[in-house]
Every structure is written in C-alpha cells, then in structure tokens.
Symmetry: C2
Subunit: 350 residues, 2 copies
C-alpha cells in the first residue's frame, strides 16, 4: 500500500484553512498521511488551534508545503491554472506528478480542478472528456451521477464514455458487480429527451455492454427509488438537478422545524424522535458522500463543495486515498477498450 | 362572472374517471359549474358511486358530454390530436371554442394538451412558444417555474418571452406586484450556463423591464429559499429538475418513516408530531398547487399530472375557472408589447 500522502489544497474552500486542517487531523489519526498545501504560517497556526480544540496529542502523519498563492472561486479556471503556476491547487497536482503525493483533494474552484486534471494529469487514453461523479443516497443504497458540472456542451460520444466510466466507478466504489445505467430524461418513452440524449439512448440501447446493463431513460422518482446504479447526464443538467435536490432537502428541513415550533406537543415529540432525525440526517447529508472524483484523467483528484465542512473534506480525503491505492486509470482504459464498438458508432454519429 | 362550465377531460388521468368525477363534485359544491367529457355510461356510473360515497344529495352544476374515444399517454401528441378528433381532450377544447365551456382541465397526455392548445386556441400574438408553468412552495411563499416540459429545443427569444409571461403569471396568480425573475443555472457567475442561458442572461440583463426585475442566474438553494418569484428554464431541464425534487421529497419521507419505525419512542414522538407532519405535507404536496397552466395560447388549459388525485384535479379546476374569469390572454399580449425592444434584440441574436 502506498504511503504517499494525499495533497490537500489548504487554500481551496470558502472558509480555508480551518476545515482543511481539521480534516487532515481526522484522517491522519486513521493513519492516512496528508500533505497540507498552503500558506505555511496560516496553516501551521490553524493546525495548532485545531490540535488544541480537538485535544490531539502526539505525532501525526501531517506535513505542510508552503505556497502563498491561491486560485479563487471567481478566477476563470483555465486561465488561472496557466497564470498562477505557484498556486496551492496546481502545486498539489505537481506534487503527485513528482511522486511526492498520491492524490489531490480540494474544495476550491471546481472548474480549475478540472483544468488541472486536464493539463497536469492528462486524459486517460480513450476519454474525450473527463467527468465529475457524485454519489447520493437512494431508498436502496446509493447511486452515482455524472457529469455533475465539468462539461456543459456534450456529444453522444461523451455520454457513452460517461456510461462506461460511471459503471466502472459504481463497480469499484459501490460494489455493484454489473451496474444498471440510465440516462436522465424528462420521460421514459424513447421519444423524450433532447437530440443529444436520444442519440446516446439509441447507441446504448443498440450495443450490449460487457460491463453493465442499460436501463434506458430514468426520471427523478426512479433515481431516488434506487432503480439504477449510475445516472448519466450533461454537466449543466446534472449540476442544476443536484442543486435543486439540495434546495429541496434544506427547505423540507426548515418547514419541519417551523411545524415543530408551533406547539409544545410537537416540540416534545421531536425530542423523542431525535435519534430518528439524526439517522435521516446522517443518511442524506452530502458531507457523508466523500467528495466528487474527477473521472477520466491519469490521476486521482477529488472535488469538494466550496462550503465543505471538515467532515466533508475528511471523507473526500479518505476517498482520494482509497482511489490512489486502487489505481483506477488502467481499469477505466480497459473498460473503454471493451466498448470500442459503441464508441466507434458514437464517433461516426456525432 | 362567466357561468360557463370548466370542461374536465374525464378520460385523461391514469385512474380516470374516478378522480375526475370526484373533483367535479368537489368544485360543483363550491358552485363552479363543470362539464365532464368522456364515455357517458362510465362517467355517470362513477358519478353515482362518488355521490353515494361522498354522501352528496341534491342538484349540482355538473353536466356530462358523451365521447367514447381517448388520447392515451403513449399516443404521439400532435399526430393523436390530428387523428383522434373525437377524443375527449380535443373535444374539451372544441367546447371552449364553441362557447360552451370556459376552460379545459386534463390529467392526460401533456404533449397532447400542448398540441391542442396550439392547434385549437392558437398562440397569443407575440408568443413564439407557449410554456407550461408550475408553482411550488418556497420558504417565503411560492415560486413559479416555466417551462416545465412543453419545449425541449429553445432559443434565447423563448427565454425572454417566458420571463415576460412568467412575471405576468406571478403578478396575477401570486399577487407579486413586480416579480423577481431568474434563469436557472449551474452557478451564478456570468460565465456559467449554456450558450442558450448566457444569451438570455445578457438580453435580460441589458434591457430593464417595465414589469419585473431580473435577478440573474439562480441555483436550487436560492430557488427554495424564495429569492426569486419566477424561474425561467427550458422544458427538459425544468422537467428533470422538478422530478428530481419530487423524488427527493418522496425519498426523505420514506427515510423518516423508516427511522420512526425503529423505536417505540420514535413512534410515540411521531404521533405527537402528527399536526406538524400534516402541516408540512399540506404545504409541500403537489396536489395543493393547482395544476400547471399552459401560458401563451388564446384560452385556458390546465395540465395535471397523470397520477393526479381528486384533490389535485379539483385544484386544477379551480385554477382554470379563476383564469377564465380573469381573461389572461390580452394581459400577456400587452406585456409582451411592452417588451418589444428586448424581444427584437433577441430575434436579431438568435
């Protein structure tokens, strides 16, 4: 097992470096080595504060790499990665390339993470566009969705590759031996969807896969009932849909709290239900779903939400460490090779 | 006030004619006249059963128009409306055109409802594409979203017209004097979105409206926090997003029930919270949001979900009756006239 540390971008998240440093301590206590990349004085001060607050004594496998510059959320991704070569995020990728880190985790600019993945790691052979894959809970377990934001303008070829990559991801990350893959659509009939989804739907319907089963079009209800293991969509639709899901969950929580506050009986009932509420929160909270890996590049990069808590970042770091052990790239390339026929058909069609 | 009845398609919904007939009785008891359009023997039998079950005596303003044919959910919309001229849905529209009904409500094939609206009512002057508008609850009240499924392939011109129509709708249906309109996107920065959303975003940003304020791009969290009154999107994204929202709400309910079942204390707590739970359910249940009107045609048509309950259909019928009283068409046309400059700019751009 690799003892290389996970490089954590300590200048990424909205409230950096606090959550990044706490996440580093949490995973280091589980013997996952980490390398915090950021402004040394700030990172070390935050480390000292967090160690005291968390009452952590003794040596931990945490190192700090100084780096004063940062890519911000407002920076134009590709230009920023080119211009700010010494910023914490690209430096994390450079550390992987130099053999000093196993993988990268950042809660920073997700477009810049994609750009770093493309420029530094390069694409896996056979992948035209990498995708960001996210996992969310369903009534039967979990489901992964890609792309959740890397690509807005896609072709059927990309959908086919996303299906292949998503299926491999569901196999190794969620233990689904032969995953069921669906395309997100506005109805299940063949006539539904956009010209893009219809082209991808026809291609996946016409070519049986050696690695997964194709379920056709899926809608929201079926997705949350766990009827598929992988949902394929473009990055605009995927991102909009997931943020609407987050908004819904948040609003329902507030509605319920308001309802509870309206009577002493409800308040007492809610207190008695605390365990049940906590269990639901634990199950559905995005913090517990380990960040969103970038699939399709020669290296491990896990993207966390800008507002990530220490819990979310720790889960993202665990995921990065796990993928780095697994060496996923060759598996994805081999699976894409096994799908040469449908990929060739997609290329001819686009 | 018009005493014309609302034409209810009694062969539309998945479980017709039961919910349609019960909805008719509910609104007729409030003195809203209805005309049930469908297979007379089945409709009259269902009426007799429902009257007995609901213990309704005496005369009600309910009439039945016989019509044996139906458009099914699987029928290709435009072709079916052309071929099945005697089906219940197009007959409802014919009754409005003949001055025998004020408006149409159906839980049938929504594509066919759109086709009927286009072929029978025709578009309002100045509208290139009608849109289906839906209302959902937010933390501050309610918000409407269009398009929720009528149009998959759009231009910036359509987005601009949707913004204008949606704002008028929010004004008369939700009493928002000067609605705040946003475009659904994968981020709030100007660089986000698709080429289509960016074009619409620039147009609405550059031309101040006499009727509404433009809030820019919005994401799911802001939508449910009630930061805008109107959300504009294409029919594919809108439909996918809303079905993901429904799926989320359903899954959260199941997770919570599972949590409650795990201990007697939770079960007791849940019983004490019944009023709070019922209040949340009432607030967020789609049944209580009155169907989705088709905006942009010369007549009133309200589209209900295929699985609509009697409560949902009754709310849809009340909405249809209300719009028919209001005579919305000229208001929309006048508002579109007031936006001639931005519409001309959009046409030049597309």
């Amino acid at each position: 097992m690799s003892r290389l540390p996970v490089a954590i971008d300590a200048m990424g998240g909205d409230r950096h470096p606090g959550p990044e440093v706490e996440a580093a301590i949490a995973v280091a206590q589980e013997d996952v080595p980490v390398l915090l990349v950021g402004d040394r004085p700030r990172v070390e001060a935050a480390l000292a504060v967090a160690r005291e607050q968390l009452e952590v004594d003794g040596a931990l496998p945490i190192a700090v790499r100084h780096c004063a510059e940062a890519i911000t959320m407002d920076d134009p991704p590709a230009a920023a990665v080119r211009a700010k070569k010494g910023a914490s995020m690209p430096v994390c990728f450079d550390l992987v390339l130099a053999g000093e880190a196993s993988s990268v985790v950042s809660a920073g600019n997700s477009g810049a993470m994609l750009a770093c993945g493309l420029f530094k790691y390069k694409r896996i052979k056979g992948v035209d566009r990498p995708a960001i894959v996210t996992t969310f809970p369903t009534l039967r377990g979990s489901c992964c969705l890609l792309d959740m934001g890397a690509n807005v303008d896609l072709r059927a070829l990309n959908f086919v590759q996303f299906a292949v990559m998503g299926a491999r991801y569901a196999a190794f990350e969620h233990d689904k031996e032969r995953p069921l893959v669906g395309i997100l659509s506005n109805g299940t009939e063949d006539s539904k969807g956009t010209p893009l989804t219809r082209a991808a739907h026809e291609l996946l319907g016409a070519h049986a896969s050696p690695d997964f089963d194709y379920a056709g079009y899926v809608e929201g209800r079926a997705v949350f009932e766990g009827k598929v293991d992988v949902v394929v969509t473009d990055g605009f639709t995927g991102n909009v849909a997931l943020k609407m899901v987050e908004g819904t969950a948040h609003a329902l929580g507030v509605f319920l709290r308001r309802g509870i506050e309206q009577s002493p009986l409800s308040r007492m009932g809610a207190a008695m239900m605390r365990t049940a509420f906590d269990e639901v929160k634990r199950r559905v909270h995005p913090d517990n779903y380990g960040g969103a890996p970038l699939l399709g590049v020669n290296g491990v990069a896990v993207i966390c939400h800008g507002s990530s808590s220490a819990v979310a970042l720790a889960n993202g770091t665990r995921a990065a460490h796990r993928f780095a052990q697994r060496n996923v790239g060759p598996e994805l390339a081999a699976s894409l090779d096994r799908h040469a026929a449908v990929i060739a058909a997609a290329k001819q069609r686009d």
